[in-house]
Subunit: 221 residues, 4 copies
Amino acid sequence: MKAKKENQENGAPLSKSALRRQREREQRLETILGAAQTLFAGEGYHKASMEKIADSAEVSVGTLYFYFKNKEDLLVKLLSQIGFDLRNMLGAAFKSADISMEGIREAGRIFFAEFCPHYPESIAIFFRESVGQSELVEAHRKKIFDKLIDDVRQALIRVCDNQGARFQSDLSAEVMATSIMGMFERIAYQYLIWQDRSEDLAVIGQDAVDFIIGGIERLFR
Amino acid sequence: MKAKKENQENGAPLSKSALRRQREREQRLETILGAAQTLFAGEGYHKASMEKIADSAEVSVGTLYFYFKNKEDLLVKLLSQIGFDLRNMLGAAFKSADISMEGIREAGRIFFAEFCPHYPESIAIFFRESVGQSELVEAHRKKIFDKLIDDVRQALIRVCDNQGARFQSDLSAEVMATSIMGMFERIAYQYLIWQDRSEDLAVIGQDAVDFIIGGIERLFR
Amino acid sequence: MKAKKENQENGAPLSKSALRRQREREQRLETILGAAQTLFAGEGYHKASMEKIADSAEVSVGTLYFYFKNKEDLLVKLLSQIGFDLRNMLGAAFKSADISMEGIREAGRIFFAEFCPHYPESIAIFFRESVGQSELVEAHRKKIFDKLIDDVRQALIRVCDNQGARFQSDLSAEVMATSIMGMFERIAYQYLIWQDRSEDLAVIGQDAVDFIIGGIERLFR
Amino acid sequence: MKAKKENQENGAPLSKSALRRQREREQRLETILGAAQTLFAGEGYHKASMEKIADSAEVSVGTLYFYFKNKEDLLVKLLSQIGFDLRNMLGAAFKSADISMEGIREAGRIFFAEFCPHYPESIAIFFRESVGQSELVEAHRKKIFDKLIDDVRQALIRVCDNQGARFQSDLSAEVMATSIMGMFERIAYQYLIWQDRSEDLAVIGQDAVDFIIGGIERLFR
DNA sequence: TATGAATGAGGGTTCATTCAT
DNA sequence: GATGAATGAACCCTCATTCAT
């Protein structure tokens, strides 16, 4: 009977103790996810054994399996959270993309100057540890990528429309959005994971965004 | 035994049987690498056990350890070969990049229209299976990426010089080159590994390259 | 708490609420035993976890441990109940065995035509799930078998006496009774557990009983 | 590539070393099966961990998994061997069953006076440890029982034919054979596993066989 | 009484690696 | 050089049992 309630989303009022228990539950879940995130990012997904994670989260192995179906599930949940956080932070910027390129530029700034330096572990997990681990994890990675790419694609189309320009095809916009994701990804990997130049990332990100915008503006000529 | 090996490395003439043995040795090495490549790409690095690889290459497990120090070494060697092949195919194109953008365009064409459809397993290993496996493997991945990025960077600088333009900084060129690598990577991942649209890759690649060139040309305005 | 329990065991009158509580307690106990019986028979003793049993009985795991010392105890109680039910149903028949073989025949009919088709789960637990689980459970199984065998033995001796025949030894009667139990057991296992021919069991049982009676009557020649 | 050769049943002559290796292989297999048999019978299937078995057989855990797919497979192989041994020992007696009951009597003698006292562990595994362990094991148990029952059934039919008697139906013979198996089983369980009266088993077995024969002869009246 | 989250020992299994032949 | 049986550490996971609420 694992996680029978999960999300008590019905409107029934909860008793005080029930509320507290739910809060504790969520706290513990966060603690575990945090420990897993740190260990996955630090030692790698495979070297981070369930026992290590349990120790690090100061719970027993059994508790891990009470909150998560298995190790893979732990990674998937972590991934979902990262994906949610990312889209959450970038969402507003993308939505503000209209006539000018400012929305795009802002999204780049948020990613490189805010997200990367503050959540390097998330970057490591999203771009390194979750790669090629299993079909299920890949499916989740793909879903997150697809959503992010779609966010970018829609922003691009909106800007274009407003500028009176047009993409040659639907595919073109998708390819451009995909390209942008790839640029973000590799620059984060290169300058945050492989080199630790998190202070330079703001500048580096600007360069990258300039490059991107140059590529986009070509459409308006 | 050591003496024999040294023979192979200096100019001393080899006896007929020694020649044959060396040839056989290289063939067997290739066979093993091929089997490993197929299994790594197909089942994943971890699920592809040394036993499976040995079976697939029709040798014994012991033989694997005669030719390769350990499983990690097998992946590293595979990676080196892939890196070599990639640079080999793209090298000429990059070197031909001078005034016009044709060299860049040609490199993109070779990558998307030639390399990807012909060596999907190499793509899967380079961009998926070798990611986050160990410090050593990551070091090799980084080295290959660094070289490729440097190839692109030099081509970019040459084109710029010839156009009378200049990068704001050395970093800018590097960032641009890194971005380009990221685009190639993600597009290959998206349209070759996740979706199987190898026939569309030529067109998709052209779109991506157009995007890149647009970004670059901005420098010349 | 102890005092209350003792109340239930002496003749002291119980208050209305106490009565209700006792009734509820017994109902709950039955519910749990029922759920356990179904799960043990359906999934097997080991695969039926305490959590599954709790879920199925719509109580919490803790409640299980309030009513039963541990999982083994649950099986033992179940076994006792089955043993009691069996002897209860067969008892009258055995006691009626006097001159003729009709008592024996009736006991066989009850077992194969009544008990087996109506309580296949009991059969599965008694003859399959409780086998070789632990020393304690084996001890209980043995006790039940011993009692049943003794019932048969006494019936056999009575019939013999009345026919003026005699067993060679006390052991002979016991061996014969044991044999009869073995026949009942294996036929139930074969035609109820392994094959599902519960409708044929009545006929099959008659055949078996004829065989038995033939063996017994030999003593009277 | 586990057990690639298993049974080198082609006619190719084996080299000396290959012969030795095969012999060693078979010896080790026997050693493991022996250790497993002793532990399964002594501690019970579940309490006998793979590590204990490995220790007892003086091999490593890995070696266990080289020779057997998993723990269940170990039990199944053991069961098959026991089934083979049983039929082997009883086979000749059953085949000799023709006009008289001597074949049947002989089979009983072999089972109770030879097999049981010499192979009590086999009895414990066949009748106790392998019961209700898994669907696969049950399937194997059933197959063995079916074969033994069929051996008995054919012997019964042969004796009947020669006596000019007839079974009421095909089912009758099967039921009688099944009954006999059940008698053998429970007597062995009662007097060998639960009580240790292996010296009395010969006498007890005779009583049981007399009972059986009485039951059979009824057909000839 | 009832709950169910937490525990942690224990089990089965895998697989990279070694080494005698 | 080649073989493949043997090793054993390490891992993931289960589940009976407990106990604070």
